[in-house]
């Protein structure tokens, strides 16, 4: 007799991913898949995937997906959720997609309090296109378009999206998490579940920023990249709840 402690979630499609070894996309996809399975939302969920490494997320998570143009996922999700308010809708976006080209779309989705959930994968770099600087690249961090490192003078300091969007009334819940170790991963899963729960209650816009790794473009091993999230990224991007309307009410 045995009891399964952990196995592959049915919320994932039974395919291999194209992600690099140790890429956190795989972990975060699992958390979303598990949450949707536990909440019994897989049959009706509609995800919107971005342009970036996770452009193929629709092949990996076991629910309906719509591919969006770069940065436009919040607008696409608005089109789906406003016409089908009963469906659980979420966007899954990287830092170039959400904070650079998509800055207007995410800002207005939060401003309007759109009733969908955004999972924001912040790995401080452009992954798919080979390591260019992102709006969230840290000061001093090197990238292929900031080869001497990001500077305040040339590039300005990076943007804290969770905090910035939380100044808007429409933001119902914003939390920053990471999956660099097991306790953090458990917290991240709880945050994602909370976001979807609030969405289904129609409370407002929910936003989970996940500090993630890009071992390939950071030039580190997957294990070292995970450590870098905790040692470097969390200094500038603090983990924790940024806004919770239920607490503030």
């Amino acid at each position: 007799m045995s009891q399964i402690v952990y196995q592959r979630s049915p919320g994932l499609q039974d395919v291999e991913t194209h992600y690099c070894p140790g890429c956190h996309h795989g972990i975060i996809h699992k958390l979303i898949a598990e949450v949707l399975t536990e909440m019994d939302l897989l049959d009706t969920a509609v995800g919107v995937c971005p342009v970036g490494c996770s452009v193929l997320a629709g092949n990996y998570i076991n629910c309906d997906f719509i591919e969006a143009a770069h940065g436009r996922a919040p607008a696409v999700a608005t089109g789906v959720k406003r016409t089908h308010p009963e469906l659980p809708v979420f966007t899954y976006q990287g830092d170039g997609d959400l904070a650079s080209i998509g800055a207007a779309e995410i800002m207005h989705a939060a401003m309007r309090g759109e009733r969908f959930t955004t999972i924001f994968i912040n790995n401080a770099i452009y992954g798919m296109t080979g390591g260019q600087m992102a709006p969230t690249t840290l000061e001093g961090q090197k990238s292929t378009t900031s080869q001497s490192g990001r500077t305040r003078e040339l590039h300005g300091l990076p943007v804290r999206m969770a905090e910035m969007l939380s100044t808007l009334d429409g933001m119902a819940y914003a939390e920053r998490v990471c999956v660099a170790d097991i306790p953090s991963l458990n917290k991240a899963k709880r945050a994602i579940k909370k976001a979807f729960t609030l969405q289904m209650q129609g409370i407002g816009f929910t936003f989970i920023e996940v500090l993630s790794t890009c071992p390939t473009n950071w030039g580190m091993s997957a294990v070292d990249a995970g450590k870098w999230v905790k040692s470097n990224m969390t200094q500038y991007y603090p983990l924790g709840v940024v806004k919770d309307v239920e607490v503030q009410a």
């Binding site: 007799m1 045995s2 009891q3 399964i4 402690v5 952990y6 196995q7 592959r8 979630s9 994932l12 291999e16 991913t17 992600y19 690099c20 070894p21 140790g22 890429c23 956190h24 996309h25 795989g26 972990i27 699992k30 999956v179 170790d181 097991i182 991963l185 071992p215 091993s221 997957a222 294990v223 995970g226």
Partner: protein
């Protein structure tokens, strides 16, 4: 044996995250083995020491690992 850990070896990308989160330090990447992808897949060196915490399986980005907790009777 408290736990049974199985690996879908051909899906492992040898990233080493499971090795880094195992509290008993019984996971390793076997460099004498390459899987169909050309990676050194992870494996468990001492199944008896496994406490079935599931950390390795939880962190694996590719859902390579299945962890089962066995009943105490079955020794």
């Amino acid at each position: 044996m408290k736990a049974k850990v199985t690996f879908n070896l051909d899906r492992c990308k040898g990233c080493g995250l499971c090795v880094s989160v195992c509290p008993k330090h019984i996971l390793w990447l076997d460099e004498t083995v390459t899987n169909v992808k050309g990676y050194h897949p992870s494996g468990i060196s001492d199944q008896d020491k496994c406490i079935a915490c599931g950390n390795c399986a939880k962190i694996c980005p590719d859902s390579v690992i299945t962890v089962e907790k066995l009943d105490e009777e079955k020794k």
